[in-house]
């Protein structure tokens, strides 16, 4: 581990006074780190300010919102949360959160399972047509999403899946997200095969090797996959907008838009309050899994 400062080792000998050169170096290092951290703090604050303002504004009254640029509410109120939660529809935000959950849960689980199986196949087995299939996967990764929207829509319309959650999660649960497949393949390639071979010598069949050996080794990558999928699905607006038409099935992302449409004078405090709530699940999940997430995206850190 490298230390954060560039200071020369202060315990050089314990007793000897530092030399002039050392003093100079220390002073230089101190000045340099002061500048660096000030700069980082300022830029960090600038980037996070809209978020802070969002949280602050969600406790303001609608009248105060545009009268004061400060993020700190003068007389804090949770009226925005109460009214926002009720919404102008017959449903509360609870319904919308549940709807989001019904999309996210099968999608995340399905993605994790299907990506593991597909990536395992690509990374560890030789089969006819493997190259062509892999190129196809990568090609779909490069394809802009919008290009497939219309054919997909027509397809799901013919199957009769419109206005249901199915079009939103079934493709992903069948390893439709090439990005995740690719990510898991790359991670798997960095893991030596010895462990799997040892398992085969120990008598495990392909499926047992996958479940008992490969999946535990893949855990950091899978956690990242789940996290990404969770956050992206939570924030997905276009998908539900296209496929879901009845309000009772709206997920949170659509429901936020709903409150803008429904009232003439926008109740911004309600919208912002609900936005804060909409952010919360992603944030909580992210911070809870942060450690694994970082392990996962820095795929080099595999312990053998």
């Amino acid at each position: 581990m490298s230390s954060i400062t560039d200071l020369p080792n202060p315990n050089r000998d314990g007793r000897e006074p530092p030399t002039a050169l050392e003093l100079k170096l220390r002073r230089k290092a101190r000045i340099s780190s002061t500048i660096r951290y000030t700069l980082l703090t300022v830029i960090g604050l600038i980037m996070v300010y809209p978020l802070i303002w969002l949280v602050g504004a969600s406790f303001k009254t609608n009248a105060e919102m545009f009268s004061s640029p400060s993020f700190w509410p003068k007389d804090a109120t949770i009226q925005g949360y109460i009214d926002g939660w009720k919404t102008s529809t017959p449903y509360t935000f609870g319904t919308f959160f549940l709807n989001s959950l019904w999309i996210i849960i099968p999608k995340v689980i399905g993605t994790a399972v299907s990506c593991t199986v597909v990536a395992y196949g690509f990374a560890r087995f030789e089969f006819p047509g493997k190259k062509f299939l892999f190129v196809t996967v990568i090609a779909t990764l490069l394809l802009p999403n919008v290009v497939t929207r219309i054919p997909q829509y027509l397809l799901f319309r013919d199957i009769g899946w419109l206005d249901s959650f199915l079009p939103l999660w079934v493709p992903s649960a069948l390893a439709g997200d090439a990005f995740f497949v690719f990510m898991v393949i790359q991670f798997l390639r960095a893991i030596p095969r010895d462990m799997e071979e040892a398992a085969r010598v120990d008598g495990a069949n392909t499926f047992q090797t996958l479940v008992y050996i490969v999946v535990p080794l893949l855990m950091p990558a899978l956690i990242s996959v789940c996290l990404f999928q969770f956050m992206w699905t939570m924030n997905d607006f276009l998908g539900p907008l296209i496929y879901i038409s009845s309000v009772e099935k709206y997920p949170v992302s659509l429901a936020l838009k709903l409150s803008i449409d429904a009232t003439e004078a926008f109740a911004w405090n309600q919208i912002l309050a609900m936005s804060v709530l909409a952010l919360a699940p992603s944030l909580i999940v992210f911070f809870a899994a942060q450690k694994y997430f970082i392990d996962g995206i820095s795929a080099g850190g595999v312990k053998g």
């Binding site: 030789e126 040892a198 398992a199 085969r200 008598g203 069949n205 008992y212 080794l217 312990k303």
Partner: protein, 373 residues
């Protein structure tokens, strides 16, 4: 326990590269067979074919009386120890040991009993609840050994198991493994072992027999003493022994019945029955003599090569003397107590081969033609 037979075993990779060229090898029940050779000689590939981790593209492998070509690794009755241990990183040592038995659906009591037995033999009882990343190299290797041992396999396969350890640990693990092999034999359940290494010290000290390989061919299979004293060809002769055997190309003639070897303008008449052993009539041959079988004599002595000393290496118990002979350099190992300390670089000395240890190789085929018929 079972014997192991390789019959014309071949391995050709998908890109057409032929790694193993139809090798035949019989390993007896309870035998400790070492496969040794330089890197790329296909010794690991051969082992992996025995294990079932590589497909066999030709020939037949038998374990006991069963052809195992198409059997899954787990069904071959083998256990394998890998070079980098290949412990399951997410399982504790106890689980690592018992994984195979659990998969086989053995009852819990039996698993516990065997785990206890194996961990006692390998002295890893106090490590059972650790994760592999909390183990040192030597401990990890012992656990890997235990994972193989616990299954009571018919054949043990070792793939360079000690090459990741430091020299000291390697020596002690070497002893541990051979002891274990002896112990199993004395307990009446002898284990057939195939052990791959590139280290000739491991090969010589551990193997009942050694199989020397080169480029997918077997060069010689013999016990260590035979390999050292009667190498079948110049490759084996050069590969086994430290420092390497000295070679020099000589023209060969007979003076009556006494073979005369001439390297450049130096002539050596060899008595000691070499003539009876020779099975060649070529006029050019390759002479091979181990550094340990050269005596330092005054320059100009009859039947000795004369050369200029180019380097002296003091090793403690012995001294390596390097001397330029004709086109090449000869190494001569002299025990310290016999060493004349007045020798220095640039001195001319005579190097007299001990006649009975001279090997003559065919220049083209490399075959040893001095083994007698």
């Amino acid at each position: 326990m079972a014997d192991l037979q390789l019959r014309s075993v071949e391995k050709t990779y998908g890109n057409g590269f032929k790694a193993v060229h139809g090798i035949n090898l019989d390993i007896e029940e309870g035998e400790f067979m070492v496969l040794v050779g330089p890197s790329g000689c296909a010794k690991s590939t051969t082992l992996r074919m025995i294990a079932g981790l590589e497909t066999i593209t030709g020939g037949e492998i038998r374990i006991g009386d069963q052809v195992v070509n198409e059997l899954a690794p787990g069904k071959r009755g083998i256990a394998m120890v890998f070079q980098n241990y290949a412990l399951y990183p997410h399982m504790k040592v106890r689980k690592n040991l018992s994984f195979g038995l659990t998969l086989a659906g053995k009852p819990k009591s039996e698993i516990e009993e065997k785990t206890a037995e194996v961990s006692e033999i390998l002295e890893i009882e106090e490590l059972l609840d650790r994760l592999p990343k909390q183990l040192s190299g030597g401990q990890a290797q012992r656990v890997a050994l235990g994972r193989a041992l616990i299954k009571h396999p018919e054949v043990f396969l070792f793939d360079e198991p000690l090459s990741n350890l430091d020299a000291k640990l390697r020596a002690s693990m070497r002893v541990r493994i051979t002891d274990l092999h002896k112990r199993l034999r004395s307990e009446g359940r002898p284990a057939t072992v195939v052990y791959v290494t590139h280290d000739q010290v491991e090969a010589m000290t551990m193997g009942d027999r050694i199989c020397v390989m080169k480029d997918g061919h077997i060069m010689q299979v013999a016990d260590p003493a035979t390999l050292y004293d009667k190498p079948a060809n110049d490759f084996v002769a050069g590969f086994i022994g430290m420092p390497e055997m000295n070679f020099v190309e000589c023209s060969f003639a007979r003076d009556g019945n006494v073979p005369v070897l001439s390297a450049g303008d130096q002539q050596i008449k060899v008595l000691d029955g070499l003539a009876d052993r020779l099975t060649t009539s070529e006029s050019t041959v390759k002479l091979g003599i181990r550094p340990q079988h050269l005596d330092i004599v005054p320059a100009g002595t009859e039947n000795a090569f004369t050369g200029e000393i180019t380097n002296l290496e003091f090793m403690g118990h012995e001294v390596n003397v390097y001397a330029r002979i004709g086109g090449g350099t000869f190494v001569c190992v002299v025990p310290s107590e016999d060493y004349d300390s007045s020798l220095k670089r640039g001195d001319l000395v005579g190097l007299k081969p001990e006649g009975q240890h001279i090997h003559i190789f065919d220049v083209q085929s490399g075959q040893n033609v001095s083994l007698g018929s």
